[in-house]
Symmetry: D3
Subunit: 231 residues, 6 copies
Amino acid sequence: MKILVLNPNTTGSMTAKIAECARDFASDGVEIIARNPSCGPVSIEGYFDQARAAAGIIDEVRRAIDEGVDGIVLACFDDPSLDACRAMATCPVIGICEAAVHTATMLGTSFSVVTTLPRSVPIIQDLVLKYGAERRCRRVRASGIPVLDLETSADARQRILDQILSAKREDGCESIVLGCAGMADLARWLGEESGLPVIDGVVAGVKIMEALIGTGLKTSKVGAYAAPRPK
Amino acid sequence: MKILVLNPNTTGSMTAKIAECARDFASDGVEIIARNPSCGPVSIEGYFDQARAAAGIIDEVRRAIDEGVDGIVLACFDDPSLDACRAMATCPVIGICEAAVHTATMLGTSFSVVTTLPRSVPIIQDLVLKYGAERRCRRVRASGIPVLDLETSADARQRILDQILSAKREDGCESIVLGCAGMADLARWLGEESGLPVIDGVVAGVKIMEALIGTGLKTSKVGAYAAPRPK
Amino acid sequence: MKILVLNPNTTGSMTAKIAECARDFASDGVEIIARNPSCGPVSIEGYFDQARAAAGIIDEVRRAIDEGVDGIVLACFDDPSLDACRAMATCPVIGICEAAVHTATMLGTSFSVVTTLPRSVPIIQDLVLKYGAERRCRRVRASGIPVLDLETSADARQRILDQILSAKREDGCESIVLGCAGMADLARWLGEESGLPVIDGVVAGVKIMEALIGTGLKTSKVGAYAAPRPK
Amino acid sequence: MKILVLNPNTTGSMTAKIAECARDFASDGVEIIARNPSCGPVSIEGYFDQARAAAGIIDEVRRAIDEGVDGIVLACFDDPSLDACRAMATCPVIGICEAAVHTATMLGTSFSVVTTLPRSVPIIQDLVLKYGAERRCRRVRASGIPVLDLETSADARQRILDQILSAKREDGCESIVLGCAGMADLARWLGEESGLPVIDGVVAGVKIMEALIGTGLKTSKVGAYAAPRPK
Amino acid sequence: MKILVLNPNTTGSMTAKIAECARDFASDGVEIIARNPSCGPVSIEGYFDQARAAAGIIDEVRRAIDEGVDGIVLACFDDPSLDACRAMATCPVIGICEAAVHTATMLGTSFSVVTTLPRSVPIIQDLVLKYGAERRCRRVRASGIPVLDLETSADARQRILDQILSAKREDGCESIVLGCAGMADLARWLGEESGLPVIDGVVAGVKIMEALIGTGLKTSKVGAYAAPRPK
Amino acid sequence: MKILVLNPNTTGSMTAKIAECARDFASDGVEIIARNPSCGPVSIEGYFDQARAAAGIIDEVRRAIDEGVDGIVLACFDDPSLDACRAMATCPVIGICEAAVHTATMLGTSFSVVTTLPRSVPIIQDLVLKYGAERRCRRVRASGIPVLDLETSADARQRILDQILSAKREDGCESIVLGCAGMADLARWLGEESGLPVIDGVVAGVKIMEALIGTGLKTSKVGAYAAPRPK
């Protein structure tokens, strides 16, 4: 079983971190192919970066389909171009926001999201609506930490924990969803410190992708995800 | 990894069929424990049967927890007493309606459900709302076939296929969810005949449960699923 | 006119208090039959207790139907097994959460709920959604007082009043719904102290049940509440 | 106990019919005061008639408040100026659409409405949303019969029955709400013929008003229904 | 192009202020006819005033239609009797709440409303729902300033600014909608002080009405806005 | 006043048609700049084409911003990359689906959409939800005509009319929204034939853009549409 874990930004160190988390949790016999596009934004922070990343995502997804992957995980919490990827593929495709949100709803009746910058809050709110969890999501919180500072900022993990503890106390949420692929390596520590399930989308994405592949089901080719018309 | 697949009705032949489907799809190293309560209704068709099944479900879940299972799949499409089971357990617990509905939303933008009797339609509509898929669910259709007749009726599978083909033609849905654990063995054939992804909750439930266990996350014990107070 | 007011827990002193409130408000000629099951949890606090209470509820409802009651009021704010009872009965059946929520929407444009423990908050939020009042409900507040402590705690009524005054000040709500049958005797005092309509579900339940019986209408036997199939 | 049943149009024969239905179902000791404004539209069919009826409604409500009525039922299915009346009164005020819709949700999980003209359909859909029953209402059907023709048309009741039977067959609804005060006298017959609970708002309104008065609760004067400012 | 800007209250000085704002922003060749009814409430603060204003609104709208206006803007933030006016007219009719809310959704992903008295908050919340912006509206805030005090109170504009700054800080909103026609002259200053788009409904209403007229489209006469039946 | 009307596909003849419709309706003194990207898909039919068009849209929007346009209309009914464009610009930006949907809600209480291919139906349903019109939209209908065939197919306009007449008869809608920029030239004829307001997004987009520019308001730079971070 081969799974593409696609980091849609061009920062290789972040791809490496995502790959490590993915492989730590992948089942025996699952090959994780972790990649990022060669051109596009170095991080995806808001709608503009999403649009700029689209071409690179399409290229990497096409390459992976040609190589015969069994499933594709889009490893950016904005789930950019997710629907386009589904239209391209017959294998299952999921986004890490989608995977994390569904996972959260199966472990508690409510959750809050802790993400990076304020501009991502409305984007995530719309994704939560798209995935049908608007009644379960107590709040989307911005930590104020840019994506790439997650790797370099000395106090990043403490500030994220502070947001989680505030969420636990003020939002009445039963679990936490981490709102950036760059937080994947912090999930375990944050869970231990907070006493709440802390869900990282990369791990959730890989495991649910294994599940989807395991069912033998494919992306529906009737309707929105019909194969693109040649043009 | 040990997973309890609990058929909440008392019909052993149905438990056997569910067990077979579950084992066909379980990953290597996963032990499927398939059981049903010793007392309660022979099938669950509507709210009254759900209430009658509650005591047996609790007993079987408690027994499995004592035995140290890693996850519990409730194998009846009404997801009866699901929240109670979550409150009892620290391991993940899911229902097959929940698993099938989430799976459907990851493979297409819309689905219809084909279930057994008309009385189950409003129950499933409420579950679809609970799982946040009300905007994705085109229609819940009753085939008119009682649960236990699925095993004995000569034309059951054809009547279910007819409903699926009507759903494809009239509802504009992109996939199908089978609305009864007793239809698990028909999913593959129905998918081939209809050209749509046909999702059986037993298989979806087992695979997503493997995924949840694989993340290492547990049911939140803060809030709705806090451990029951001793009384 | 005979109305069963069923306390679904097994605490007789609570049944007595509920009976007294019900009789205080019942119309002339209405016989209030107040009962509780002989086995089951002593109080209903969360999903697990609901599931444990199901068998006792069914037994008492069946007995009352056999005796020919004209209506049934389920006197626990979680409205446990309400739909199952409706399927059993031809007479009207209501829950006290349902009755209180509808009453609140007819006396103001918004309300907050004050209940017992935090674990009941998500349960009540789901009931509020079920009854279509999600846009009217400002907040569900937990006082932190367990059900049975309502009878024994010296400061219970003051703590509930404090929550009501906070709701008035912070939630912008126009009325208050008491989220536990055990608060029935406090409603008048709380209303006088807070200057808001304070709605107790036991009284609302009895009065609305009298109204339903008075219309001559019965529970629909087409669809979800069709008579249970013999099994 | 004195209840004003206010027919907001100026057709006295319709007021008489409404009065008769109200009195048939009123409890012992309840005085039904049935009135209509002296000026305004002869029937209320759409938004314009509602606006024209506003002044007359206000006048009659003020008169009744001065006379000390205990509750007010607005006997037009559009519930015209209901919120204004609530702001004027301290006693409870309800509309017959509101009463009928709540009643329907307590007797079945879904309903369809059968009303008069197509122009009323969107109005009723908005009221159903206001009362939180949008997920329970399967369809609002227009019979094509103007309000005043209900009294004179030879085939009116048959055409309404036809709509009800279509609703039962096509909408999957479990009960029927009659969408005009002028249909009050037909409810019993329609229920017998259709085998569904058929809910007339006049009767539902009177009985639920008795219930509200019986609780001793008043309309909240905090917020939307605060007493009008003198001007 | 002639546009009626109808102030539905009877305060001439407020009509003059509204007229001035409207003319400041009207395109060349657009004639603004600003009027108010001769009888009715001096300001519209809540449901009761709305009902009292209905007759005057109808009269002025009929007069304008007879004069051949091309569009009608209802210049009160409660959009009173808007649907009735649409039924009367073939030309487009809009309310200033409607215009402001739609404008806000095209300039940012979320907004808060700052209005006058607390009693208007639930009214505006219902309008926001009617216009489909309930997921975009972060909060409706009352400044506590009565409508007519907006012209005379020395600190009114500062108190409104304070609410806007609180909204920016606490609500996470991206723009502000002013919730009263009497605030029209403050919009520019408030925008400069707050750094947010501050949307006044009078200006938004006039400009969007010019746009609607410019499309050549008319109010639909099929359904809810069909011409009133003669009676 | 300069408005960019951006056809996001690369078909020049379609750009010319859009330009002609836009100029026919633009006010005096408004300069319409109609362009399309030089590379990208020849038509936008589904999610994949949207993603492929993103780079070209960004380039054209940047160029127009540098040239100092006062507003931008995205002339494809999928509103592709609309949010990204808003983040880039300080001037207002709208999509033609957005403009048409808001226009429809101001002319009637409900509408149906008639678009091109079935794969676009779920996309438009999601946009309708985004714009808050999900309760107003009766149905999104596919005519089965690909975008570019609108210019060449002999029977295209008749097939679209047939869908509109079906919508009028079956959906109970009060107006029609044309779901493709390529239908702009048909709107008037379709309106005359159907007796319903038929709304074309290109015209609605230009007129509402003129309105937004006329208010002097700008896109909010706080939150989702904050200027992209340099990277």
